[in-house]
């Protein structure tokens, strides 16, 4: 990052996350600028998904400091595993959205309600406003004609596109993608990547993407971070990482996945 770069939107400073005896993030430092598109790659268990899950407040962490949009994740004197009040966590969450590996659509709701429900309940939009927003987003992901279907009637690729529309309906500043295509049949990966690729052109949206789709990562990212053993082992522009990796672990990993 250069000297005149904007203040980071997300800042991990010495964050340590343990599951029992297992250290998943080890004195982890990481910054993301507003609007930046960052891809996290690395072997499984290296802590990539944990970074996203901590940002979404799905997991607490034990040590260090994390801020998003100037909000610290842990409040001074905060209690509970997150060391913060639910009210504070909800303020943080209002800036963040997440797309999951297994879609996690609500099976009892139509596609339309999946997308429109939270804007009504959480943001306080009227049904009409929320549905208009949902119609626009569903058109954007190419599923305008599926709005009255139920998730079980859609293919995996279609479900994931609905999930992206659902996350976008909350207008997050930061959108997290946790292996969005890993649960998909190979022939359905392309349609989901196309939608994510379109989003990468949105200037204001900050994106963090955990993926094994290396070619896609190279196309859409401003920066690629290679994770190993709970730390970022090497990071840089996609060209630098994919054409001239300097760290032996990076070379080893890329050789194994790009075969």
């Amino acid at each position: 990052m250069t000297d005149n770069a904007p203040a980071p939107l997300i800042q991990f400073a010495g964050v340590t996350k343990r599951f029992g005896a297992l250290t998943v993030l080890d004195d982890f430092n990481f910054e993301v600028a507003p609007g930046e598109k960052v891809t996290l790659i690395g072997p499984s268990g290296s802590g990539k998904s944990t970074v996203l899950r901590i940002l979404m407040t799905l997991e607490p962490f034990q040590e260090g400091r994390l801020t998003l949009a100037g909000l610290s994740y842990q409040e001074p004197g905060g209690t509970g595993p997150f060391k913060a009040s639910e009210r504070h966590l909800r303020e943080i969450r209002s800036h963040v959205g997440m797309v999951f590996q297994s879609f996690n659509l609500f099976p009892h709701m139509s596609v339309m309600r999946n997308v429109a429900e939270a804007p009504v309940r959480v943001l306080g939009l009227s049904r009409d406003e929320a549905q208009a927003r949902a119609v626009d987003l569903l058109a954007m992901v190419g599923l305008a004609d599926k709005k009255d279907h139920f998730p079980s009637q859609l293919s995996g690729g279609q479900q994931q596109r609905v999930a992206i529309a659902r996350a976008l309906a909350m207008r997050p500043r930061v959108l997290l993608f946790d292996e969005p295509t890993s649960a998909l049949d190979p022939q359905l990966v392309g349609e989901v990547l196309a939608v994510i690729g379109d989003l990468a052109h949105e200037h204001d949206l900050t994106m963090l993407l955990v993926t094994h789709e290396m070619r896609f990562a190279r196309e859409v990212s401003d920066r690629v971070c290679f994770f190993d053993k709970g730390r970022i082992c090497e990071q840089g522009s996609p060209e630098a990482i994919f054409t001239a990796p300097s760290h032996p672990r990076t070379r080893e990993f890329l050789a194994s996945v790009l075969r």
Partner: protein, 230 residues
């Protein structure tokens, strides 16, 4: 409440016919008590199940103790306790309300276990998606969890409803004039218990059969309407 009624004990059939109006009055009381009790059990059971999953240990632990206590003590003891002990502390409830409350309390302990099983079967990803959409816990329960578990827990809830209907005669011991209490009073007057008690038994049998048939039907209709039961 039996003044003005006459009964004809000439033959069992005429006897049965003459006391039927009284028994049916008792039936309405029985049904009201069961309905009120089950409504309490449905609401309170969900509250217990939610409290039991609270993030605060003290809350979940206390709830677990209360539920266990309600489950493991006899309904009759709870009933007498509410009816005779509470008034000593200034809380006097009518017999019917006391009865409905006792039924509701005991069965809320059972229904809370049904809710708990249902809630635990909801995949973690559903909770995480709700969190990612910034829903509160209450919103998550109301919009995501309960609608998903409702069809699945329906059969178990139905069984408890039938069981509760069959337990309502217990309320007669605290002077609720349900079907059983009235049949008993008729017996005391006529020294002829066979017919009134048989009628009560038959009416319970019919009630239970109706409920079971209704449940069976729901279990067939719901999957056709696209609501899976498992």
């Amino acid at each position: 409440m039996m003044y003005g009624f006459t009964w004809d004990t000439a033959t069992p059939l005429t006897y049965a016919w003459s006391i039927l109006p009284i028994i049916l009055i008792g039936l309405t009381v029985t049904l009201k008590a069961a309905a009120a009790g089950f409504a309490i059990a449905l609401v309170l059971g969900l509250v217990f199940a939610m409290l039991r999953r609270s993030r605060w240990r003290s809350v979940s632990w206390t709830t677990a103790c209360v539920v266990e206590f309600l489950r493991d003590t006899p309904l009759l003891v709870q009933l007498f306790f509410l009816y005779y002990v509470l008034p000593e502390y200034g809380l006097t409830l009518p017999a019917f309300l006391t009865g409905a409350l006792a039924l509701g309390l005991q069965y809320s302990a059972y229904t809370s276990e049904v809710y708990r099983g249902g809630i635990e079967a909801v995949p973690r990803g559903q909770w995480e998606a709700a969190t990612a959409l910034n829903m509160t816990r209450m919103q998550t329960y109301r919009d995501i969890v309960v609608p998903q578990i409702a069809p699945r827990i329906l059969p178990a809830m139905g069984n408890y409803m039938v069981a509760m209907i069959k337990e309502t005669p217990v309320l007669s011991v605290i002077t609720v004039l349900d079907m059983m209490a009235l049949a008993n009073m008729i017996g005391e007057r006529t020294f002829e218990y066979l017919v009134p008690l048989t009628m009560v038994g038959l009416i319970f049998l019919i009630l239970t059969l109706i409920c079971s048939a209704g449940l069976h039907r729901l279990q067939k209709v719901l999957p056709k309407a696209g609501i899976p039961l498992r």
